[in-house]
Symmetry: C2
Subunit: 527 residues, 2 copies
Amino acid sequence: MRSHNSRSCGALAAAVVPLAFALTFASLSAAVAAQSTRAQTPSAPDAEAIPAAPSPVLLSREALAGAIGVREMGLRSEEAYQILEELTTEVGQRFAGTAGDRAGVAWAVKKMQALGFSNVRTQEVIVPRWIRGEASFEVLAPYPMNMVTLALGGSIGTPDEGLEAPIVMVQDIAALQALPEGTLRGKIVFFNGRMERTRDGSGYGKAVRSRSEGPSIAGSLGAIGVVIRSVGTSTNRIAHTGTLSYNVSAPRIPAVAISNPDADVLERQVAQTRPNGKAAGQPVTVRLRVTSRDLPQVRSANVIGDIPGTDLANEIVLIGAHLDSWDVGHGVQDDGAGVAIALAAVRAAASVNPKPRRTLRVVLFANEEFGLSGAGRYPISEGDEAVAQHAFAMEADLGDGPVWKLSARVPEPYWAAIDQVHKVVKSLEVELGDNTAAGGADLGPLRRAGVPVIAPQLDASTYFDIHHTVNDTLDQIDPAHLRQSTAVFGVAAYAAAMVDGPVPRLEGERARCAVSRLNNHSHNHSQ
Amino acid sequence: MRSHNSRSCGALAAAVVPLAFALTFASLSAAVAAQSTRAQTPSAPDAEAIPAAPSPVLLSREALAGAIGVREMGLRSEEAYQILEELTTEVGQRFAGTAGDRAGVAWAVKKMQALGFSNVRTQEVIVPRWIRGEASFEVLAPYPMNMVTLALGGSIGTPDEGLEAPIVMVQDIAALQALPEGTLRGKIVFFNGRMERTRDGSGYGKAVRSRSEGPSIAGSLGAIGVVIRSVGTSTNRIAHTGTLSYNVSAPRIPAVAISNPDADVLERQVAQTRPNGKAAGQPVTVRLRVTSRDLPQVRSANVIGDIPGTDLANEIVLIGAHLDSWDVGHGVQDDGAGVAIALAAVRAAASVNPKPRRTLRVVLFANEEFGLSGAGRYPISEGDEAVAQHAFAMEADLGDGPVWKLSARVPEPYWAAIDQVHKVVKSLEVELGDNTAAGGADLGPLRRAGVPVIAPQLDASTYFDIHHTVNDTLDQIDPAHLRQSTAVFGVAAYAAAMVDGPVPRLEGERARCAVSRLNNHSHNHSQ
């Protein structure tokens, strides 16, 4: 899972946005909006639509009964947990371009086939191949100490002997930019800001800027390296990885994260060098060593499978998750849980009567973590016409849940159906959100193409204790959370497949900076 | 902290026990026992002691009032936490023979001086020097995966290319020994037994045998390597280190621990190779690589400081902790907490009136973790006469507490005073234990010399989540626990310094296998 928070977008990044999509869907949008109004008033004469507030689109009584069946099926289902257990036992980490990534793709194809999906297929995606190598971070003075460290994803390496320099401690980018000119020349920047624990994950979005943008900003101010306090809420002595975004116009400098307890120690050492400290006036000097490096790009794949619909089988309800993971954990909460929820939810949705009208499609995206490669590739490989057939899209990429809020970004008339879905799942302690949801990083290109989004929001209160660390393992999963999330995603997917259409396109979301590393090497995104 | 549980002792180990002490103290014991009886009946004529049940030894009213003052002082004291914070900030890990070990000794001398201890001194201790190097453990089949690994303390290394072999999974040593002859030839043994969480730490003693004795037993049965499930209660994906005990008569084979979540995965992979599994009939094949090695022994030191007593200043109440730690964490719970509790408790005890009659001595032992070197050296360097002056000994080596039980191993008449101490600390939720306590690993040589022991037992319920792992950091400390432990240790130390004497010797405890690595290289101990 990546952050969706605001960030500065380079002009280069904006230039590669597929504008063709936006144009295509803007025109489509007007047409289907008119159709939609018709669809809501089937007995009305086939006349010109009168400009008026569109009628709400509601689920039929049969569809609501089916949705309740999906909920009950999801709540009883052990399938999501079984999928996760199997993924952990047979595959483990699935970092882009590794053997684990390839094993994950092979596993997913077999698994979808075994679960009865139709038209199970892989869609080739070219992914970057970054080698983590080793990273060490050592305080040399005033008090020598080794610290637990991981390179940030995409970091360059250091010379074999490492970089030795005094550190400059700041809380965040604003504080860094406020320093007098020349302060950072030849120094290593220590970003010490702490991530705030929040239910909606917003604390991550705020804290992650030091990681994503910090290295290039520090580099442009003369720094030779960056060390950050892990962007995570865990107090375990483990470091948190994730991608940095080198800006093409700034010098590239190596960057690592140290664990939160180590950052505490470093902060206390810095305090000792302040005027009244025991080591007053001394610099805190460190040695940073990183052997990270890039290899040529390699092949990976999106894995796609369908449960065909009935009368609207040519329209798609997409439920996405990403198959790749970071390399340090087992990729269970991020995003094995999403894979499991998506597969089990669709299975639950397909198990009731009346059968889903639209085709339910699970897309397991390649390389979300290190460049959103699969998300970028999907609409290109599918083609504009196929994308136009996507009625709704959903994504699960924030751990095992539970779902605590149901939000969406749907054409106004469809909010009534979202409200109906909420009533079906309200007893599972789900609040009703609003109609401005983003839905997830892998849905970016589809959102920009105007595809409506339904967004069951997963509770992220403890997610960032685990996320992007070695601790992303099966024992951190709560099977009850997984069942609840399966139920809610299942109900939402089922409702999306049942509601009348054609579903209008939305105005395409303004392009964010989600440009694949394949398109440029600026890493201009947060993940 | 090491285990005191039963283990098989080799003849070699038993042979080097300092029997001289046992003899010396057996004779001393009779003499002081007679004196003690006199001391309890100061008005009695100076006649031959009549063989009768000795009168209980009680604390005076003034001493009890002082003890209450110590309790209140300890409960308010932030000193233990400040000591720990300083130790973590300025020193960190203190593994035997490392730069951290030397920094720890220098820090402790300065700290004791700053705290007002008298006669602060170092006592040279020769310690082994083992290099951890790197360890990797990789499953090759049926499902390739890397696992989080640490070498066990003292392990030999492997060839550069590692060892590649099928594994044989067993729960414990008994199961290993029950296997048909030849089963293990050329195999790597996987000890999969789980440690049980207990308040008194007894779960550790049971589980640790696979680590301490397992490698030599497996080696003698033809195995070429050992991997164990981490001996700890943490579900974090971090491995737990600790010392193995090579038996001189068995082939030495390398041994590592994998994290508990990784052991879960390995167990599930093994299950898949069982008759009904997906990989039925296939072996689980792994590659183990370790670069651990021994260097020549180096110098370390016990650090000793006194708070002189008043009328019984020539008698000693020893409060011990160990200054060394494992290399992977910051050495905070094990045993920085003990260091902090010992220093702060003695300070609290010395702060009240009437002043402690006996001298309160803090001994910070060198290299407990990797051979009990300092504990073995202390009585030898001090000499028999000085050891005979030790009225009581105490030790803190099970984390920050709180103390949940007060036990002891004192001459019967002194149990009455222990009962009085208990009444002073009962309100701090301390139970009364019994008179058969061991007191701690570093007290072994003193126990064998007949020195009575007072044992405030620290609550170990969560200690083994942290112990011997990277997670042994300051943020895992509960300052309230530390205050309570300081109060209880302070009261006990104060009472031990105030109670009438001379305190008789006990019959020396039978020697256990705590033979230093310096004396033989069999590592014949659990730690």
